[in-house]
């Protein structure tokens, strides 16, 4: 009586991939926070989700590489498994009606064969370092580009890890006195924009100590030297 065999759920009839933002207050959501918020928004929008099988069925959602908590983003990706076919644009409109502040779905498309994980191999970042003295970032970036390898340390849940930062950087430049544009690869171990800032600080101690404000501007496969659209590769 206590354990009934779980009902086997049918596979999704359609998979849609969405591009969404994390703006303003939403930048402070963690990956887990967003997961809960999205599931609730999907129910409010009455999106016909497909569910996993088992005792506690979960809606079929796969998340692409998520921006760290406190980073804003214009290009986060998620894949939804649906049990009824939906028009991508109608789904976008319905979700945008009910998403919390700062989350906006910008685009949606039928999933292609390549996995989101494989497609999201590079990102464009804006790194804002408030209070940087004029010219300092340009000097730091120039020094960075001269190096072939640059090791930084970061505390991870497995303890202090050191890894090379330079290899992950495709392009970097100082856009203004306080802003750096970064194009980097998402590889293992993951090099985050703040790791790049640590490296810049190693090379140029005048790079401000404060936490940089990060915004992901684009994410997708690296084609030539550009980050391409992962929804329509």
């Amino acid at each position: 009586m206590s354990r009934q065999p779980p009902v086997q759920q049918p596979p999704p009839v359609q998979k849609l991939r969405l591009r969404y933002t994390k703006r303003g207050v939403a930048r402070f959501t963690s990956h887990r926070d967003f997961g809960r918020a999205l599931e609730r928004a999907l129910r409010r929008a009455e999106v016909p989700m497909a569910y996993s099988s088992g005792f506690t069925p979960h809606p079929r959602i796969s998340y692409g590489s998520a921006a760290p908590t406190s980073a804003a983003s214009e290009a986060e990706y998620v894949e939804l498994g649906l049990n009824e076919r939906c028009d991508p644009q109608k789904l976008v409109a319905a979700l945008n009606e009910v998403l919390p502040t700062g989350f906006v779905v910008l685009d949606a498309a039928e999933a292609v064969k390549a996995s989101l994980g494989d497609l999201l191999s590079a990102s464009d970042w804006e790194i804002r370092l408030q209070g940087a003295e004029p010219g300092v970032l340009a000097v730091a970036v120039a020094a960075f580009l001269e190096r072939e390898e640059l090791t930084v340390e970061r505390m991870t849940k497995n303890g202090m890890r050191s890894f090379d930062v330079r290899g992950a950087v495709v392009a970097i430049r100082a856009v203004s006195d306080e802003v750096i544009a970064l194009r980097s690869l998402q590889q293992q171990p993951l090099v985050r924009p703040d790791d790049v800032v640590s490296a810049l600080r190693q090379l140029e101690p005048r790079v401000p100590e404060g936490l940089p404000l990060l915004t992901r501007l684009a994410q997708g496969p690296l084609e030539g030297n550009e980050v391409a659209d992962p929804l329509r590769p």
Binding site: S2, Q4, V25, P48, K90, V98, L99, G210, L211, L213
Partner: protein, 649 residues
């Protein structure tokens, strides 16, 4: 401190700090169903608070209800604020950022009213924290005309005397109409040009007899430390302040669109209060005494609220709340029809199961049709039959064993039993009987289920006598007594070779209970203790990792010595009939003589019935407050759901 115009958002200053504190999401607002209104278009502006961290405060039902009711009015604006953790507090103080609201990140000090809901007295130090971090004046008497009125509500506000120095106003009882009435009085006073400043508005509120303004009441003391008299110091202010009672709950279906948190919180469900009030008459239960009479929502309102709440929140868990949900006159129909409606969906229904009878098992079965039967919770509260007579929790051992037998026969494998320790007249033997009861539960469980895989968790905490209950005169058991009895119980369970390993014991030591006791039955002199503790860094007293018993006892010893009284005087001392209690001028509708008789009956182990099914026993509430019991059955069915064609194809 940074000068900020009221309508200005503090977010630009906050944003750089947030990346460096833990769980910043709890400070930013922006949740689904949160409301940001035009500051200038509002005539009355409320900041609502539950004085704890967001994860505890956000799910509070009272704040959720008032937030909606206030914001529904186009001339009122309501936002929310919660306690910030020490890392955030440090960052805010360093950068001169005051306590702010989540909704529009406005400084709390610029609102007209700061409404604080107290479910527990252990939130008092956090109140001081919020007031201070808001840049407001700590003591109400010293506040300027431009500072918010600090309004206390919630169950603890039925004796707000310990925080009388820090609040401007206390509201007793249901807040739905009260918050609108306060707003209306403030609006009229404003329209007249705010005559007589802060005292002008406070006097208008106090004169209604519906709001308690501590500064308009003087307290005199006898030489032995007891209160001699509490009396108004203004001719137009009444001697007694009465509680608010909302009738016809079907006309007030709130919360309808509660905020859906982004951060993780302690309860993430949509809760429908299926009735308010309780007349079971458990003598320890303050909630049951101060929320009378029973007022039900009918099955159709409940059904509408459930459907609407699911739609507006996207939550999947529904709680059917009340002080004793199985007592709703149509609970069987409510649960069956809701279970039918949501069968096969991922919506789960729950009701706090506390009544100990087989009927509860039927309900629990209805609510777990998906087959997941993890655990059931019952609250016999007293370990022995004698104790249960003293507290008027009329459950026999036979009831309990029959109930758990039914549960185990129906596939349940775990029961949780709630008890209290340190009840009036209790002996060691009364508490030790809990172990016998738990052993019998395991025994019958193994018999009925045919498996040894049965567990019983005993959860036990120290009893704290509360104002407006028959036990308001009782001596609280001291820390040593509580801790000793818990140890004896622990030893007895451990020594039980047959069943001991299947019994889990969860308990709280007696220390926080003694401080809760001081704050529950304290008077205005206790305010000095609270302030001292807070000044020495005390806050988040509801969290064991932040609570410091030593800080409290030391502050109490030093601050109370001047009055010739001490911590024990407030806690372990039995009061007499003649003694003026600090809350006697605050009228919960209960007849004082009835409470005293019930206290005497308790000592004689005489029980009292429930007035829903037996004649009125004259507790006084209905005639005193001109209210009545409002219950079904209605015989109605759930209204059909309106099907909206929202195809995304």
């Amino acid at each position: 401190m940074t000068v900020t115009a009221p309508k200005h958002s503090l977010f630009p200053q906050l944003e750089p700090l947030l990346a460096s504190v833990s769980k910043p999401i709890q400070y930013v607002g922006g949740e689904h169903n949160s409301v940001v209104k035009d500051w200038d278009a509002a005539e009355v502006r409320w900041c609502l608070s539950y004085p704890d961290a967001y994860e505890v405060g956000q799910p509070n039902q009272g704040v959720a209800i008032l937030y909606e009711i206030l914001n529904e009015q186009d001339w009122i604006l309501a936002e929310r604020t919660y306690c910030v953790w020490p890392d955030m507090e440090k960052a805010m103080r360093e950068h001169g950022i005051p306590q702010f609201t989540l909704d529009a990140h406005r400084p709390v000090g610029s609102f007209d009213l700061l409404g604080v809901s107290f479910a527990t007295e252990l939130g008092y130090t956090n109140l001081l924290q919020i007031i201070d971090l808001a840049g407001m004046t700590l003591r109400a008497a010293d506040r300027g005309d431009d500072e918010p009125l600090v309004v206390a509500g919630g169950h603890a506000a039925f004796n707000p005397e310990p925080i009388a120095d820090f609040i401007d106003l206390a509201v007793l009882g249901d807040g739905e109409e009260a918050c609108l009435l306060i707003s209306q009085i403030m609006r009229e006073w404003r329209a007249e040009g705010s005559p007589d400043g802060r005292d002008g508005i406070l006097l208008r509120l106090a004169e209604t007899g519906a709001f308690y303004v501590p500064k308009f009441y003087d307290v005199d003391y006898l030489a032995d430390g007891r209160i001699q008299r509490v009396a108004p110091n203004r001719p137009t202010v009444p001697f007694q302040v009465r509680k608010h009672t909302l009738m016809n709950l079907d006309e007030w279906p709130y919360p309808a669109k509660p905020i859906v948190p982004m951060a993780e919180t302690v309860h993430e469900r949509y809760s429908v209060e299926i009735f308010r009030g309780c007349t079971r008459g458990c003598r320890f239960c303050q909630a049951g005494m101060i929320t009378r009479p029973v007022r039900e929502r009918n099955i159709q309102t409940i059904g509408k609220m459930v459907a609407g709440g699911l739609k507006s929140t996207g939550l999947e868990e529904i709680g059917l709340l009340s002080l004793s949900s199985a007592d709703h006159s149509e609970i069987a129909e409510v649960t069956k029809q809701l279970a039918d409606r949501y069968e096969g969906s991922n919506v789960s229904l729950s009701l706090p199961s506390t009544r100990v009878d087989a009927f509860n098992i039927d309900l629990a079965n209805e609510l777990s049709r998906n087959g997941r039967r993890s655990g059931l919770t019952f609250a016999p509260e007293g370990g022995s039959e004698r104790m249960r007579k003293v507290i008027n929790k009329m459950v026999t051992e036979e009831d309990l064993i029959n109930t758990v037998a039914a549960a185990f026969s129906n596939g349940w494998r775990q029961v949780k039993l709630y008890f209290m320790c340190g009840l009036p007249t209790e002996t060691d033997e009364d508490v030790l009987e809990i172990a016998d009861l738990a052993s019998k539960v395991i025994q019958v469980g193994r018999e009925k289920s045919g498996t040894k895989d049965i567990r019983c968790t005993v959860s036990i905490g120290g009893f704290v006598p509360k104002p407006h209950t028959p036990f308001q005169w009782a001596a609280q058991a001291d820390v040593e007594t509580i801790d000793n009895r818990l140890q004896l119980l622990k030893d007895k369970i451990r020594q039980d070779r047959n069943y001991g390993k299947a019994i889990g014991l969860r308990y709280h030591d007696g220390k926080p209970g003694i401080i809760e006791g001081l704050l529950s039955r304290g008077d205005r002199r206790v305010g000095r203790v609270i302030e001292r503790v807070w000044r020495e860094g005390g806050k988040f007293d509801g969290w064991s990792e932040h609570f410091s018993y030593e800080r409290w006892t030391q502050a109490a010893a030093e601050e109370l010595a001047a009055f010739g009284i001490d911590l024990d005087w407030y806690t372990t001392r039995e009061r007499g009939y003649e003694e003026v209690l600090p809350w006697d001028h605050l009228d919960a509708g209960l007849d004082r003589d009835w409470l005293w008789e019930d206290w005497q009956d308790s000592l004689d182990e005489v029980s009292v019935e429930d007035c829903r099914w037996t004649p009125c026993f004259d507790c006084g509430v209905c005639p005193e407050l001109d209210t009545e019991i409002q219950i079904g059955p209605t015989g109605a069915k759930l209204l059909p759901l309106t099907v909206v064609n929202s195809s995304l194809a």
